[in-house]
């Protein structure tokens, strides 16, 4: 799906965090969003997914408005249908096992469940043996991969990841990043990753850097 971000602006208590952000992402494109801590990467991604309402500007999917300063109601449906989101810390629903988390994600986002696909996805990420473990029983690396599995098991057209590797050591970070890219390629999903971690730069053909509320290409 074609994503277009137009003139996006967001301020917190009069302080501009985003001011006039513009970019496009073509279907299947891989995009890295870089910027120092506090530069507004999370804010930008949240607005992109319709989790936050911008003060100004729009986000369109294939030309249709998904997010605007007026409303994010259209965003709820579109996000459910087309987005897989990996957060830095919120990875899984704590009361449910890993497998149940994936089942719930499928049920909520696609309306049906596909058990073989869940096992295949867990196997693909090397955590199928932990399928019945609860989130708190997983290691950091396992939990991060589980979050990716949760986001991808619904076969989203767009995969958004906010700091997917910041909690991981170097080895795990590169492994998780490589997996994200691999899986996005396999499923043909557009991949947008936000990070302050420069080490990921070589894996992405295109990098956007957030500076003082604007993108420096």
């Amino acid at each position: 799906m074609d994503i277009a971000v137009r003139d996006l602006a967001k301020a917190y208590a009069g302080r501009d965090v985003l001011s006039g952000v513009n970019f496009n992402a073509a279907p299947g494109e891989r995009l890295l969003l870089l910027g120092p801590s506090g530069s507004g990467k999370s804010t930008l991604l949240n607005c992109l997914c319709g989790l936050q309402r911008p003060d100004h500007g729009v986000v369109t999917l294939d030309g249709a408005t998904m997010v605007s300063s007026r409303s994010t109601t259209a965003a709820d449906t579109l996000r459910r249908r087309h987005f897989g989101i990996v957060f830095q810390t919120l990875r899984l629903v704590s009361a449910l096992s890993l497998r149940a988390n994936l089942t719930l994600a499928q049920k909520l986002q696609t309306g049906s469940t596909d058990k073989p696909a869940i096992d295949r996805m867990l196997d693909r990420l090397g955590i199928v043996h932990r399928a019945d473990a609860r989130p708190h029983q997983l290691s950091q690396g396992e939990a991060q991969r589980a979050a990716i599995a949760r986001a991808l098991v619904v076969r989203p057209a767009i995969l958004v990841a906010d700091e997917p590797t910041s909690a991981l050591d170097h080895g795990n970070a590169t492994r998780v990043a490589a997996l994200l890219i691999e899986l996005a390629e396999e499923t043909g999903a557009t991949l947008i990753v936000a990070t302050h971690d420069d080490r990921l730069r070589p894996h992405f053909p295109r990098t956007l850097t957030l500076q003082e509320g604007q993108l420096a290409v």
Partner: protein
């Protein structure tokens, strides 16, 4: 969403168990109270139906009613036959049913009466026929079931209302013959053995001669009895224990009790008044328990509220994630509400089962309770109302945290978390 609500409940087993326990105890108490008062009053009404007035010997009116209508207490004494004749002559009296009490068979009271008793309670025989000749008896359904007695069998009554262990006072010289078994009524008649007044007299007339040390309140040997003896016969009179009176007209209620109470040996007791008094007594003692039980239920609701508020706070991240995954506001709201309602439902169910299980146990261990008419598994409309109220408490308790979840802004939670 039910699965998710259950998962959260299972996630904090101690809190959930505690909340369930609180609600279950409250519901069990409430159900027991409802059952006891409802079944008592229903039983009272059924057994007192058609009886406008009970005439018996002077004493406690409550005891007179208990002994002659519910058959659970000793009679107040005996009354002369003339009382019956006088009442039957009264134009405002439709029916007078005589009762001659005193003996039991294996704890089931033998009632000397006439055909009017069957008419009063609408009794029909399931097998055999009604009693006719002296020493013929008809067994209530429960008596027949418990003793395994059949038509044609003979049995011997023993003295008193309840049979005592090793009792040596059986009237073994005067056996009764079972000629019929009554169809079950659900009333007191199920646990009675009916015979003619003459049969009761006959048993005791003889008794008087055999067991000189024993005092008998009623007894006159029947004139035609083969064991008739001369000794002491003249001193015995044919007596009755009580009379069940049905009025023909409302005027009876004005005149008859006054007329009876004027006679020094007699008293008239109105079943409706006495049962109302009994229910009042029961009600007053149950009221305190009822208040306590509702307080307990409210505490259960409060416990759910506290648990869910804590849950919502600690699970904010989860709930935000659910929203991100596409759960609507209504869905996350529903999950939290469902947790409260599920807890209340299960607690109510447990309490209900406990209460009825207790009733069943009590019935099995104390036959006297079965006598009182406590049925184990009959749900009452009041119980449905009660269950709905307790589930309502659960829902109400869950509403506040559920609303907090409804208003939850996932972005703010995400911002805080990352």
């Amino acid at each position: 969403m039910i699965g998710l609500a259950l998962a959260y409940l299972r996630d904090r087993p101690l809190t959930t168990a505690l909340n369930l326990l609180l609600l279950a105890i409250a519901v069990a108490m409430l159900v027991l109270l409802v059952q006891v008062s409802a079944q008592a009053s229903e039983r009272f009404d059924r057994d007192a139906q058609g009886v406008d007035l009970v005439v018996g010997a002077k004493g406690s009116p409550l005891q007179l009613i208990l002994s002659s209508i519910f058959h659970v207490d000793q009679p107040t004494g005996n009354i002369p036959l003339e009382a019956r004749i006088a009442l039957e002559r009264d134009p405002s009296v439709a029916r007078v049913v005589p009762l001659a009490l005193g003996d039991n068979f294996r704890g089931y009271r033998i009632v000397g009466t006439d055909a009017g008793f069957a008419a009063l309670y609408g009794l029909t025989t399931a097998r055999g026929r009604s009693f006719d000749a002296p020493m013929e008896a008809v067994l209530g359904a429960e008596v027949a079931r418990a003793t395994g007695a059949e038509v044609g069998q003979k049995f011997i009554g023993s003295h008193g209302l309840v049979e005592e262990e090793g009792q040596e006072q059986g009237h073994d010289h005067a056996p009764f013959t079972t000629v019929g078994i009554l169809a079950p009524t659900g009333g007191v008649a199920d646990r009675l053995i009916l015979t003619s007044v003459e049969s009761v007299w006959q048993v005791h007339g003889i008794d008087e001669h055999h067991q000189t040390g024993e005092r008998h309140e009623d007894g006159e040997e029947h004139d035609h009895h083969e064991h008739k003896m001369a000794t002491g016969r003249e001193s015995l009179e044919s007596e009755l224990t009580a009379l069940l009176v049905t009025y023909r007209s409302a005027a009876g209620a004005m005149r008859v009790p006054t007329m009876i109470n004027r006679q020094s040996a007699l008293q008239a007791a109105v079943p409706a008044t006495e049962t109302a008094r009994l229910l009042d007594l029961l009600g007053a003692s149950l009221e305190g328990l009822r208040v306590f039980a509702w307080l307990l239920a409210a505490t259960g609701g409060l416990a759910i509220l506290v648990a869910l508020v804590g849950m919502v706070r600690s699970r904010e991240g989860d709930l935000a994630l659910l929203r991100v995954m596409g759960a609507s506001r209504a869905q996350v709201f529903g999950t939290v509400l469902l947790e409260g309602v599920l807890t209340a439902l299960v607690g109510t169910g447990l309490g209900w089962i406990t209460a009825h299980g207790l009733i069943m146990l009590a019935r099995a261990n104390f036959p006297a309770l079965a006598e009182l008419g406590l049925a184990a598994w009959t749900p009452l409309p009041a119980e449905a109302v009660l269950a709905a109220a307790v589930v309502g408490i659960g829902a109400l308790a869950a509403l506040i945290p559920a609303l907090a979840v409804y208003r939850l802004d996932p972005a703010r939670v995400l911002a805080r978390a990352s």
